[in-house]
């Protein structure tokens, strides 16, 4: 399995690197003739990534989220799927470089945090744990995409205000489109982030756990921030640049919580 795993892994990584290069040229050099090739590469990357996760799952007979590396790989896959869906439905010019870079980085990092042989402890093999982790990762993926979109919003907004009509200005999709997309992904993220702790609470209860860890506290804080932002947007016209900034702050909080957790906080 190890040989197959590494071959497929580096195949996936190579594809993502190539795709990122293609999308970079598409966006910054406006090489519109690369649109078809870059989309094909994106689909190939996601397809190979799916195969890799399936390989881990089938070989280890478990959901491929047992190690930090696998979690990162799974999360990157969800972000890639999310981006693919956004690009397909939004029909906007390919702005994939902004999501592909974090995806490629995540896949690369997972190499150092993964062990394809790692046998996971018994309690991590349960269905509750798997669903909890998958929901959490899905939430994180949705917030990642919304944060990328929020960054794009702020970038375009600043260019409009400062009247800087460069290649970034030309190639970013309209503000309105970006805002619609970031809202959709925030809503999905909130949904998954509500599901995850509910399942997690059941899992912890079944295994005799209690209380809330600092990581969970941080995540709940981020959840309430996102929830508050979504409610403010829906009922109090909390839109535009303020909405985008809130998303970035919420995502930043999420990242900080996870980073502190990794360092044993």
């Amino acid at each position: 399995m190890t040989k197959a795993y590494y071959i497929l892994f580096f195949h996936v990584l190579g594809l993502y690197v190539l795709t990122s290069v293609m999308y970079w040229q598409l966006f910054f050099k406006e090489e519109t003739r690369l649109i078809v090739k870059s989309r094909i590469l994106l689909y190939s990357s996601v397809a190979s990534h799916t195969l890799l996760l399936l390989l881990i799952a089938l070989t280890n007979h478990r959901c491929p989220v047992a190690t930090p590396g696998e979690g990162l790989l799974f999360c990157a896959w969800m972000v890639a799927l999310g981006h693919l869906t956004s690009e397909f439905y939004a029909k906007s010019k390919p702005w994939g470089i902004f999501t592909l870079l974090p995806i490629t980085l995540a896949v690369l990092l997972s190499l150092f945090l993964s062990d394809p042989h790692s046998p996971s402890p018994e309690q991590y093999r349960g269905a509750y744990f798997s669903f909890h982790i998958v929901s959490s990762l899905a939430a994180f993926a949705c917030f990642t995409i919304s944060a990328v979109l929020a960054t794009m919003y702020i970038t375009l907004f600043k260019r409009l205000k400062s009247k800087r009509f460069d290649v970034v200005f030309r190639t970013l999709p309209p503000l309105e489109n970006i805002e619609v997309l970031e809202t959709i992904w925030v809503y999905f993220g909130i949904l998954f982030m509500i599901i995850a702790p509910v399942i997690g609470w059941i899992w912890v209860r079944d295994h005799g756990g209690e209380g809330m860890s600092p990581k969970e506290f941080g995540i709940f804080t981020a959840l309430f921030l996102f929830l508050g932002t979504a409610i403010a947007r829906a009922f109090f016209r909390f839109k535009g640049i303020r909405f985008a900034v809130s998303i970035i702050v919420g995502f930043g909080l999420l990242l900080m919580t996870l980073a502190l957790n990794v360092h044993g906080f």
Binding site: E30, T32, R33, K163, P174, L175
Partner: protein, 433 residues
Amino acid sequence: MTENAQNHLPIQKDLHVVVLGLNHLTASVDYRDKAHFSRDEILAVTDLILREPDFHEVVVLSTCNRSEIYAATSRFNERETLLEKAWAQVKSLEESELRGQTYYCRDSEAVSHLFRVISSLDSMIMGENQILGQVKDAYDLACKNNSVDFYFNFLFQNSFKVGKRVRSETTLNEGAVSISSAAVDLAQKVLGQNFGGRVVGIVGSGEMGELTAFHLNKAGASQFIFFNRSLNNAEKLAARFGGDIYTLSHLKDKLSLCDIVVSSTGARDAVILKGQVESAVKARNGKPIFFIDIAAPRDIEESVQEIPGTFVFTIDDLKNIVGKNKLLRQEAADATLQIIKEEVAKVEFWYANLDLVTVIRQLRSKFEGVVREELDKKRKNQPSEVLEELEKFSQGLVGKLLHIPIAGLKKMGENGSAKKASHFANQIFSLMD
């Protein structure tokens, strides 16, 4: 005439494509109007040209900025005066005057010219999109009129591919190159592509405002509010686009209804003030307002830009955008020329190999003729089953025997030696006998 192996249509050997035309660079707008062909005149001039035995195919393209006659002829003259004669006759023009205002090219130059035209490299506004449809219409009319055949079918179908390739592989037709369309592009950058459901406020009844309203209307805006010093002038615009009319004093009340405001009055002082905009933004609960100030001096107070939830662009900003877009199109022209060069080479290659296709067909035909002759001699003495087997055997044998020479001829064609290959095949197999 020789038979075409692919279409079984007769093709003319040694056909030349020629084009006679005039455009915005070679003729004044008045002369272009005089020389412009209506639909009936296109049919008349086509008919006149095709009466000549050496002219086989004709397509006439006639738009407000250019008129061109494309013809396929077996003549090889420096300049085809017949086309000038026909044009002058149908349009009652002086031939000498027409000659002075037109350009003429043939063969590869003519093919390259067609590809340049359809790419909009030759257009008054480089990168415009209308020309592709106009060439298609001209070709469709020629098809209905039966004035196109093998050569122009291939040429024009390829020209449509060139047009599509240029538009998908380059940025030649991207970005607005007029002030009013730049304003619409900017508005789309904020509010999205479709303005359906958006309210547009037009302040002033000037030409630029009307032009911008036209482009916004094309982009889906259908709800307009017109503000003007006098209601009379605004009525004309309201009649054209629909919408309500108010005097300028109603601006402070109605501004909050507008998503987009285009201002182009001739006023000396600002007509849209910061206080008015602040109230409007507050009333809109954070929904942005997009302002376009086309007036000089400015209609919108400069401090309005500082209000959150507003985007204000002046005529200088729009000129800046238009300038950058024109530069982009200029840069895309090089990539377009490269595409045209590649496609012209493909047409030249195809044309050079036409002869080879004919020769291969003749070669097969000759060998099959020999087989038929020999089988006919045996027909009386052999039962039909044996004859059937013999026929199958001989077909297979001919195919195997000819495989190597045909492959060799095709290879020579691919290497650019189609004419040489045709000549050798003719000599070795006596195909002309």
